[in-house]
Symmetry: C2
Subunit: 210 residues, 2 copies
């Protein structure tokens, strides 16, 4: 089961590594870390600034079973890259699952593979996702056909467990949940627009879609 994780400059590192850590433990998982070209990419400075290595170029990975696209605070350099979008569109033709986390959904949208499909993304990007013809849904994980999308950043972990269950069964997914101690206990309750306190929503206002 070939899993292609696409990475790129200014991405959000947890968007990628959260789901990778989970789905990479599936039986027969053959993870390929893919950049537009092979080499180093650098996550966004607003998040970790972490350097990550693309072991493959997109041209080397034409037919993965699972495609995973993470997001970032600024996606315009990816959503305008015709070569990357062509690859996403071609790869999608033969994937079992085409997936995204956070604003990675905008790349799927720009490639045209979410047209008329229900999908989720970071709360700040729902309007933009709709502009690509997708139907934005304010849920944590959304499945429409073979497109599976996760909401912002940390939602990629929940998406990956959902995906894991589908490709390798519930019991193995539960085993990996135990191995990764995924028993979350957030010390605050501010993880969604519905639960964040008023003062936090006020801080977040500049990021909200108009």
């Amino acid at each position: 089961m070939e899993i292609a994780l696409f990475i790129f400059d200014r991405m959000t590192s947890l968007d990628a590594v959260g789901p990778l850590e989970i789905i990479g433990r599936a039986p027969n998982a053959d993870v390929k870390i893919v950049g537009k070209t092979a080499g180093t990419v650098r996550a966004g400075k607003s998040s970790s600034g972490l350097g990550l290595i693309a072991d493959y170029a997109i041209a080397d990975v034409p037919s993965p079973d699972i495609l995973l696209i993470p997001g970032g605070a600024d996606m315009s350099h990816v959503t305008s890259d015709r070569e990357v979008l062509d690859w996403v569109r071609q790869v999608h033709e033969t994937t079992t699952w085409t997936t995204s986390v956070c604003t990675g959904a905008l790349v799927l949208g720009a490639a045209g593979v979410l047209d008329g499909k229900r999908a989720t993304t970071h709360w700040s990007a729902r309007t933009q996702l709709a502009e690509y013809g997708a139907i934005p849904v304010a849920e944590r994980v959304v499945i429409d056909g073979k497109a599976m999308t996760g909401a912002g950043v940390s939602a990629g972990i929940d998406m990956a467990f959902t995906l894991f269950g589908m490709v390798a069964g519930d019991e193995h997914a539960q085993f990996v949940q135990l191995l990764t101690e995924y028993d979350p206990r957030p010390p605050y309750h501010s993880g969604s627009l519905e639960t964040a306190p008023a003062a936090v929503l006020e801080r977040a206002r500049p990021f909200m879609p108009s």
Copy 2:
């Protein structure tokens, strides 16, 4: 606020990137990705196999405010590395917070900085942690003095929000929780030894401390 994330071969990538993504968003965060030497490290094949870049060598980062040590399935090459342990011990003298995720606690233990302290680690490593003189506690995040430890893999995210609140205040932590949509909804309830189904515990038996 200088934050040193120590990375090494065969580490678990989410142990590092989960907390990094959160605490790296703190005001004035100056993240330094540190290896024994600068250059590439490769996460464990049992998890992601991801290549990560250490921008600094340990010798370049003698006095971070926060030290963060992730874990991995096999830690013996780190817990036996005198040069790394000396660095951890020296750095700990002047940190504000010395932190670990998962079996990263074994490195703190081997360096002697958890002697007589309450600490948590991956459930599989509690016995080994006790051998270093620490008092293992089956909690998700444990604070004893300036040592803050998180349980297995995904617990690093909860630890990072706890740490974030302490260094930058609750409201900013809540804002970052909203930005990262940390509103977890695991599709299974198998994230701890207490909640995992019997068949899953049976699979996990080889990993349990004797």
